[in-house]
């Protein structure tokens, strides 16, 4: 990669607690080209906070500091809230975990997708409608005309998540952050949704950050993987080399997952004392 799309240097996210400030992300650095990067970790590892910090979505009293956070030549740390609003959606967008909570229940699907586009670009109504329908088709929704008129409670979880993706991709952003995009979905639907993200991301040459707790899934859909544990990146490797991971935490995670052809009598359990430095867990 020649010029990275996103460059993060020493990113820290801090929350104050009754027993003093706690760093949930502890000075991590990574860079991303127009590729698919997976961030894996268990709950509380700081992976979602990293995604949110990039979009500056962490509200007070949380505090984000970074030596450098540059997206396509724009210094994100120096942007005002107003400038960020212009970036969000248009240049960087985010797919959240659960479509049930992230879609507006009182707007039709079509209106919501159109809104995502109109916020950043004025368009004649007919063209807008055509764009919305073609986007719904792109996320493989049959009868886009009918679905555009539905309300979120009338669609299934998998369809809701595809609608979210349509909404996030219609302004044609350069970077898509997907935070557990499929963990609320069934296995069979999961693969469909990820295939759609994969097609659109590679087709348009976008960057993708896929945040998930599922190692196998990330290994299947990403080029590169970061493994996070209690706010730190413990391992960074090519997706294909995951089975050669060296860090005990990564190895423990891989071993703890039951396999399809399971013949072990007992699953190895992570021994947290093996690598944590006392803090956290």
């Amino acid at each position: 990669m020649s010029v990275p799309l996103l460059d993060v240097e020493n990113l820290t996210v801090t929350f104050p607690t009754a027993s003093g400030p706690v760093d949930v992300v502890k000075g991590i650095s990574f860079s991303l080209g127009r590729e698919r990067l997976g961030i894996v970790g268990e709950s509380g590892s700081g992976k979602s906070m990293t995604g949110r910090a990039i979009l500056k979505l962490i509200r007070k009293p949380g505090r984000v500091t970074a030596d450098e956070m540059v997206f396509d030549g724009i210094d994100l740390t120096a942007q005002s809230e107003r400038d960020m609003r212009r970036l969000r959606g248009a240049r960087i967008s985010m797919v959240m975990q659960d479509p049930k909570f992230s879609l507006n229940p009182v707007m039709t699907v079509g209106e919501q997708i159109a809104e995502a586009l109109v916020t950043h670009k004025k368009l004649p109504r007919r063209e807008l409608r055509a764009r919305v329908l073609s986007m719904l088709e792109a996320v493989r929704i049959n009868e886009p005309e009918r679905v555009a008129k539905l309300y979120p409670h009338e669609v299934s979880g998998g369809m809701g998540q595809r609608i979210m993706i349509a909404m996030m991709l219609i302004p044609e952003p350069d970077l898509l952050i997907a935070d557990e995009p499929t963990s609320a979905l069934d296995v069979s639907v999961q693969a469909q949704v990820l295939d759609i993200i994969d097609d659109l991301v590679t087709g348009k040459g976008m960057g993708l950050i896929l945040i998930s707790h599922d190692l196998n899934l990330v290994a299947r859909y990403c080029d590169r993987i970061l493994v996070m544990n209690s706010g730190e990146i413990v391992e960074s490797c090519k997706a294909g080399d995951l089975h050669n991971a060296t860090h005990p935490y990564t190895r423990g995670l891989i071993a703890a997952m039951p396999r399809m052809d399971e013949d072990r009598e007992e699953l190895p359990v992570l021994d947290h004392s093996a690598w944590t430095t006392g803090a956290g867990t």
């Binding site: 709950s43 639907v189 196998n216 703890a256 997952m257 039951p258 399809m260 013949d263 699953l267 190895p268």
Partner: protein
């Protein structure tokens, strides 16, 4: 093993006027671990709910350990068959301590020696005694799921219904709970009927599985068929491929 632990015959369940499960027939032998897999809305949890009496609108026949089930919750039945729910954050009373939570089934059934039983059960599910007087919010997800399992085991049931017992947990915690379930089954000779959508978990914990779709059982197979990728039904094969398995000709 002469009698079946759970027997379902032409079981159809509906919620109000909506039929959810159609004509399901299978039986689980005593000491067996049986899995129901399928996507959401396929009716797999509804079957567990009908067995426990939480979904009373059913026709057909349900028998547990040879005794036919009625349509309502039933105290004697509770002693033989207990259920563990998916979400440990929602299934434990937030304002009762672990001790209250574990002692309650004993109080309901008028069983004495509660103090000792609670202590033994905490040890059996691998929880330290210091957790006994804590509230659920002071426990992690994995610890809560251990409490939920402990509560289900308090009445020494012989049949356990497990509704996605690990899907709300992290991978490393999931491994702990799966090991615990396997150990308990070995030690106490329990029968498991488990609902899950995670096929590798089935491979680890179960002997047989039934694949469900749209309220019907499309295939019943041995775990061996799952391990070698030799499932027969096209839908089960699709599910298997989506979970990352490599298919073999059936």
């Amino acid at each position: 093993m002469t009698q079946a632990a759970i027997e379902l015959e032409n079981l159809s369940i509906s919620y109000g006027k909506t039929p959810v499960v159609h004509d399901v027939t299978f039986s689980v032998a005593e000491g067996e671990s049986f899995a129901l897999v399928g996507e959401s809305g396929s009716g797999k949890s509804t079957i567990l709910r009908a067995i426990t009496g939480l979904a009373p609108d059913w026709t057909g026949r349900i028998a547990v350990l040879g005794a036919p089930r009625g349509h309502a919750p039933d105290r004697a039945f509770a002693k033989t068959c207990q259920m563990v729910f998916q979400d440990p954050y929602g299934s434990i009373h937030p304002r009762k301590t672990v001790d209250d939570c574990l002692a309650e089934p004993l109080a309901v059934h008028g069983i004495g020696g509660r103090d000792q039983r609670v202590r033994d059960m905490l040890a059996a599910v691998g929880l330290d005694q210091r957790f006994r007087f804590r509230f659920p919010h002071q426990l992690s997800g994995g610890q809560r799921q251990r409490v939920a399992i402990a509560r289900a085991l308090m009445l020494e049931p012989r049949v356990m219904l497990l509704d996605e017992p690990t899907s709300a947990l992290d991978v490393s915690v999931q491994a702990e709970i799966l090991n615990l379930l396997k150990k308990l089954r070995r030690e106490q000779g329990l029968t498991y009927l488990m609902v899950t959508h995670n096929l590798p978990v089935v491979s680890f914990l179960c002997d047989r599985l039934a694949v469900m779709r749209h309220g019907r059982v499309v295939e019943i197979a041995d775990a061996e068929a799952l391990k070698t990728g030799r499932l027969a039904d096209p839908y089960s094969r699709e599910l298997y491929a989506a979970s990352g398995g490599t298919l073999q000709p059936a």
